[in-house]
């Protein structure tokens, strides 16, 4: 299960507000020096930039954003409508095929294979290129109430409203800030050397695989902040508890509707051809495929080597230029074909997406060369690689970081042993 840290208010409400520094590129206050090394001893990839250079990057990105946003038009609207249309026809066609999924032809069930493959792709398209991006408000500019961030609900266990809070608000604002961005390991994985090690992470290869298989449910638990709630239940006010219960009921109702559809009503309809059981397995497989695929794409966005994390203190009074810089350094891309980009919901352009989360996804490929050029000119690493290379590197990292960091003069074995002893002692004193 996913344990998310507690919900943190984005800004203190008592804080007097002038202009939010993240709204405009312009910094009059002197900015803190960026240290050359991080806590873990790794170099800071942006240490060589002056504040003026960072604001220059901000101006350049603002100009690029404006250029693309001003040119949104019929072509883009036609694109998203086409994707939605294709997805719905694919889903209807696959569901229709599954009505005959139990029918055997020469000892093999062709309709099961076709239907399951189609449904898996339909679910992936729905979650990634459509759901994720519509809920980001990428298509709000069309003023079509049916394709709008405030109205969209997706084919996933997590209700749109809760996902939008944890993803759009927390993750996209505090991208890769240790202790603020809960997406950094989802509270159960150590994916960065700068994350503190504990005994819990020894088994993280298991957590990781479980998380991938059950991804839609762990996203729901994570958006609900179930982990945080369980950890501090006794300290919460009645009001907070009531809010949690309301959200929990919302999640359970959504899961019930989702499960009824996939595991009850569709199989029941197939019973006519004796295909109830095979339709059920097809839905289970399609959901698993979707879970593993989305998880794989998402871990490639922020966890591969070469992507930076940030200290909480480094974002105090962060300017727009610095925010852009953090987004660029905190994300990584996936290279591949056009079909591959669509299947990832264009999250293969994670860097471009994080710079401009509300830009229509079909435009990311267009600006990617300019972003790459900008980063190269400033001597910043533009992290990218094939899906398999990036995913494999994350899987390796999950294994590697299940152990504590290497420290000069100490064996990792000893660190683990020490932690074990401490844990035993804590247990005894609690008794």
């Amino acid at each position: 299960m996913t344990l998310a840290p507690e919900r943190t208010p984005a800004h203190g409400s008592s804080k007097p507000h002038g202009i939010n520094p993240r709204l405009r590129v312009a910094s009059d206050a002197p900015r803190p020096q960026r240290p050359a090394l991080k806590k873990s001893g790794r170099p800071n990839p942006a240490a060589h930039l002056t504040p003026e250079q960072i604001e220059g990057i901000g101006h350049e990105l603002d100009a690029l954003r404006k250029e693309v946003m001003d040119s949104r038009g019929e072509r883009d609207a036609a694109y998203i409508r086409k994707v939605i249309k294709v997805q719905r026809y694919l889903e209807m066609g696959s569901r229709a095929a599954l009505l005959f999924s139990g029918v055997k032809v020469k000892g093999f069930r062709p309709a099961w294979w076709i239907g399951t493959a189609g449904l898996s792709v339909a679910k992936i398209l729905e979650n990634m290129e459509i759901g994720h991006n519509v809920m980001h408000g990428q298509w709000d500019w069309m003023r079509d109430p049916k394709i709008h961030s405030t109205a969209w609900e997706w084919d996933n266990a997590s209700p749109a409203s809760q996902w939008k809070h944890s993803h759009n608000e927390i993750h996209h604002t505090f991208t890769n800030v240790l202790g603020r961005d809960n997406d950094l390991g989802y509270g159960i994985l150590r994916v960065d050397e700068d994350q503190k090690w504990s005994l819990f992470y020894l088994f993280q290869p298991i957590w990781h695989v479980g998380n991938a298989l059950l991804f839609e449910y762990s996203i729901a638990a994570y958006d609900l902040e179930l982990g945080g709630y369980l950890a501090k239940k006794h300290r919460l006010s009645e009001e907070d508890k009531a809010e949690f219960r309301k959200n929990r009921d919302e999640v359970l109702a959504k899961i019930r509707r989702q499960a009824t559809k996939d595991y009850l009503v569709h199989p029941a309809l197939s019973a006519v051809t004796g295909s109830a059981r095979t339709t059920l397995t097809a839905n289970v497989v399609a959901n698993l495929v979707r879970n593993v695929w989305t998880n794989t794409v998402i871990i490639c966005g922020h966890f591969p080597p070469g992507i930076s994390t940030f200290e909480k203190t480094s974002i105090d009074g962060e300017t727009r230029g610095e925010w852009y810089l953090r987004q660029m350094l905190g994300s990584g891309n996936i290279s591949g074909t056009k079909a591959m980009h669509v299947m990832t919901g264009n999250l293969s352009h994670q860097i471009e997406h994080h710079l401009f989360p509300d830009m229509p996804s079909n435009r990311y490929a267009e600006i990617a060369p300019q972003i790459r050029d900008l980063m190269q000119r400033h001597d910043l690493p533009y992290v990218t690689g094939s899906l398999w290379k990036q995913a494999a590197s994350v899987y390796w990292k999950v294994v590697e970081l299940s152990l504590p960091n290497k420290v000069e003069g100490r064996r990792r074995r000893d660190i683990i042993r020490l932690e074990l002893k401490k844990a035993q002692r804590r247990r005894k004193t609690r008794r």
């Binding site: 939010n20 069309m142 509707r257 509300d358």
Partner: protein, 371 residues
């Protein structure tokens, strides 16, 4: 609200329909069955009302009649009423209201095929939608529609003496009445204003009625007579005070006529259709009205509406406070706002609420939020 299958039927069939509906809803979740049915037939009964453009016929150099076949949910209209049409222009949906000019009984007339609705619009320089409809709309395009509405209609029984006073495209609701009710009207005077003879919409049709003695048409052409001076009515229609008058045209004419009729002591004889919403002049800072919280606050041009609302104690939805999470989106009912990041001004143009991000926009003049 979409009408639901079986919602109004009772008995065993009604129960069956309700059951089928529940199964369909369970199958379609998280979407609704309509989302799939719309793919197959967007014009079906029970769908959100849509229409397909059948023909765009030029009326004058810059006016055209748009003939639309409405979806099966179309409930008809009373002549003089208008509909709202939602058109996608450069990918963005815009809603505007237009008077209907076709026959209410669904029969063909004036070249409009049976079962179709028709509107006529004049392209004006700043009119994005009218210009699009006149110059760029193509047959086959799907548009969004609303049911007909409006009380600019003739009473039954029809009054004995009628005056129609129209200007420019203000002729359209009156043409709707003429095409449906001219036979029932005994004494019709019609004063129509246009910049020049070339600009008179429906000129041949009106002239035909005039020649046949069905109505008495007087044209006031700006290039011949100058802009209509209402004092001229005394010569054009000497008994205008005794006539029930229906008036549609630019705001200046409406305002002047209301005063003229009031001065004559017969304001109740004047029936007015106002179309052009008051134009918003974007300013720097201004008044933000939170309609449902009944709070009105003054904010400067550098303060996000979100901050202004929170300071006034309005319960504002909020999120990232930098324009990326869309957690603060609230419908704007009217007014203008300016993006604090880019300086871009968004003006509310139609009567459809426009969802806006409060965290990156400041008020530009005034605005009213549905909050």
């Amino acid at each position: 609200m979409r009408p639901r299958l079986g919602a109004h039927t009772d008995g065993p069939l009604g129960g069956l329909a309700r059951g089928a509906r529940r199964v369909a809803e369970a199958l379609a979740t998280p979407l609704v069955p309509a989302d799939y049915l719309d793919l197959l037939d967007p014009m079906r009964a029970g769908a959100d009302l849509r229409g397909r453009i059948v023909e765009v016929r030029p009326e004058t150099d810059d006016a055209a009649t748009v003939v639309i076949r409405p979806g099966r949910g179309w409930r008809g209209h009373v002549p003089g009423q208008y509909i709202r049409i939602g058109v996608d222009i450069d990918g963005v949906r815009h809603w505007r209201a237009y008077s209907l000019t076709h026959r209410a009984d669904g029969t063909a007339a004036a070249g409009i095929p049976a079962g179709c609705v028709a509107i006529t619009t004049k392209a004006i320089p700043e009119g994005r939608v009218s210009t699009h409809l006149v110059r760029h709309a193509t047959p086959g395009t799907l548009v969004m529609l609303d049911q007909a509405t409006g009380d600019f209609t003739l009473p039954t029984p029809a009054p004995a003496k009628v005056l129609f006073l129209t200007a420019g495209s203000g002729i359209t609701p009156v043409m709707g009445m003429l095409r449906n009710h001219l036979g029932e009207l005994a004494d019709v005077a019609h004063v129509h204003c246009a910049p020049s003879e070339r600009d008179v919409i429906f000129h041949r049709e009106l002239a035909g009625h005039h020649a046949a003695g069905r109505l008495a048409l007087s044209l006031n052409l700006d290039d011949v007579h100058g802009v209509l001076d209402l004092a001229r009515l005394d010569t054009l229609v000497p008994d205008w005070r005794e006539r029930e008058t229906w008036l549609c045209g630019p705001t200046a004419l409406l305002d002047a006529a209301e005063k003229h009729w009031a001065d004559a002591g017969v304001p109740e004889r004047l029936h007015v259709e106002r179309f052009r919403p008051s134009v918003v002049e974007p300013g720097e800072g201004g008044t933000v009205t939170f309609a449902r919280s009944s709070r009105i606050v003054e904010a400067d041009g550098a303060t996000a509406i979100l901050d202004a609302g929170e300071d006034a104690g309005v319960l504002m939805p909020s999120g990232c406070r930098m324009g990326i999470c869309f957690g603060c989106v609230v419908p704007m009912r009217s007014g203008a706002i300016r993006d604090l990041r880019t300086g871009e001004v968004t003006v509310h143009e139609s009567d459809e609420p426009l969802p806006v991000q409060t965290c990156v926009n400041a008020v530009a003049g005034s605005c009213e939020l549905d909050l």
